[in-house]
Symmetry: C2
Subunit: 335 residues, 2 copies
DNA sequence: GTGAAAGCGCTAACAC
DNA sequence: GTGTTAGCGCTTTCAC
């Protein structure tokens, strides 16, 4: 049923090679032949077989974007990566790993590695070993702070500085008892960096630091933020600000504050992280750290392309796109 | 660099065929040979080449989930499809089409068709012709109401009935002037069905129907819901309820109502559609139609698998998973 | 039980 | 400019 080069060649009365040349925009083909072949290609609805092409020359024109989940931040990023990839003639397929280590490893290593030309991955649950081994034979660009010590290209904003900026904003507007949501007992990766930034800022400003002000979570979802906020209010009813390690946590916290009858920002100011679209529609709109997502996506695609086409083969690169603090009504009154 | 069957065969001192048999769990291999080969496979880190496998026997074990965008509803659905696919040994790759017709068609037809074994698609911008042609050679299951007339398997909830149920709920709680957000001048697909359900319910209840109560939108995003709500309030300040064709529109509408100083649900009751997670965290929490997403995902994967393995080759099937109305504070006071 | 050889659709050399 | 051929890694007859 599917039509191959051979079919086109037969129908057009030329050789397979000629059809291949036309399809691949090879320059040295006479205009007449080119047109005739193109007509047949069109008519028969020929589509090149990507598997065969890749088997033959090791390129499929497809890259994978491997994400633990399709939460808003990743969804927004994915949209950009897809668009940017497309501009470079690449098809971006999203692999939603669900953070399962086994799956992530196996899939990334196996399926992906020889179906795609490279992978942009946010490795929630891959180990350094997994990634390193895979990176030997398959171009990989890492997203985010996890595994930043592995010798592979990666793109991430400076989470320590960004977290500090968020907390300093809270201090600037006069808050003294600033809690955090998203911490962990044994922090690593992103959590460790944001936690460090949070603590650094408190220290610099001479504000209280302590476990009592830290709301530990397991996941970064709305419900976790809600639960953590409820617990914090119980423990420290005197808190007057919360810095949440991502927006979903903050949105959950907002609901908990609303239900507890605390006014935001009058009683408690809230800052999130990621600046997802939802921030502009919450009640109140959420102040947040906005990573330059376009830059993240562009850098990631760029680095990957360079590795794929061999333009770059030197040391692993680390790119730090900028971020900014977007101030909304969850920290400064008004609309 | 990548290790092939041949390498394993050489290292294990057996033929290629034997390695292939072991890898594919072919039963008639002596235990001794099997163990030896497995050890070498492990040691060399052999991964079967999916491209070659697919080229050879037409199967890759990969299916595509083609979605116009990764909005919350699709993201939640994707998560389920990935999980269900995995349980059946399938890798699900998400193709974010951005609703671009050209892209969607080309990609779905070209790349996907011979990289994957089948496609589950929510065809926002594919034409009936595109889909039909593709469906000739490549198993496809359609999601949602668009293109429901095309002779391909599809899965969608009964949007007409669901929309009616939402509106009747509003009537039941005493609302008389019920607007809609998400309508279109020339409705088709999902919009047409929900619009019909909305109007049917109004007619049955003897309530006002008219263009003045219809908030047209272009997209189904928060901002569109916000804009439409602002316009509706301007036009019909007397409205006491709004049925939004999806939750994002409703969340935008909630913000517009908040800014306009209208209390929800006291002044205006709001109902959404899809029951995304965000509904439970908005202010107030949003009453919504909850499609049985698990059933949608399961049916879609199931239908696709049947087409792929040829278990089913008869007429196109239409499956209508159930839905329910989830009542929250945006329609009935309290928490 | 295991090996040898052919071929899936494509492209890169090389001939014509 | 265009045709011929070999082979990417795999599975699948068919011998052994």
């Amino acid at each position: 049923m599917p039509v191959s080069l051979k079919d086109v060649a037969a129908a057009a009365g030329v050789s397979i090679k000629t059809v291949s040349n036309v399809v691949n925009d090879y320059p040295f083909v006479s205009a007449a032949t080119r047109h005739r072949v193109q007509a047949v290609v069109e008519q028969l609805g020929y589509r090149p077989n990507v598997s065969a092409r890749r088997l033959r020359n090791g390129r499929s024109g497809v890259i994978a974007l491997s994400l633990p989940e399709l939460t808003p931040y990743f969804a927004e990023l994915a949209e950009l990566v897809v668009a940017i990839g497309e501009r470079r003639g690449l098809t971006v397929l999203i692999d939603q790993t669900g953070g399962r280590r086994g799956h992530e490893r196996l899939v990334a290593a196996g399926i992906r590695a020889n179906l795609t030309d490279g992978t942009i991955a946010s490795p929630l649950s891959m180990t350094a070993d997994d990634v390193k081994r895979l990176g030997q034979t398959h171009p990989i660009v890492l997203l985010g702070e996890r595994l930043s010590h592995v010798a592979l290209d990666h793109v991430a904003i400076d989470s320590v500085a960004a977290a500090s900026a968020a907390v300093e904003h809270l201090a600037d507007i006069g808050r003294r008892t600033i809690a955090a949501i998203g911490t962990a007992r044994r922090p690593s990766g992103t959590v460790a960096q944001r936690q460090r930034g949070y603590l650094n800022a408190l220290r610099r400003r001479g504000l209280e630091r302590g476990r009592a002000l830290q709301g530990d979570v397991v996941l970064f979802h709305r419900q976790d933020g809600y639960d953590a906020m409820v617990a914090l209010l119980e423990r420290r009813p005197d808190l007057d600000a919360v810095f949440c390690f991502n927006d979903l946590l903050a949105l959950g916290a907002l609901r908990a504050l609303r239900e507890a009858g605390r006014r935001v920002p009058d009683d408690v100011a809230v800052v999130g992280f990621d600046d997802i679209e939802e921030c502009r529609f919450s009640a109140p709109p959420l102040t947040s750290i906005r990573p330059d997502k376009v830059a993240v996506a562009e850098h990631a695609v760029d680095l990957l392309c360079r590795r794929i086409d061999g333009t770059e083969s030197g040391q692993a690169q680390e790119l730090l796109p900028p971020y900014e603090l977007v101030v909304r009504a969850s920290t400064v009154g008004g609309a």
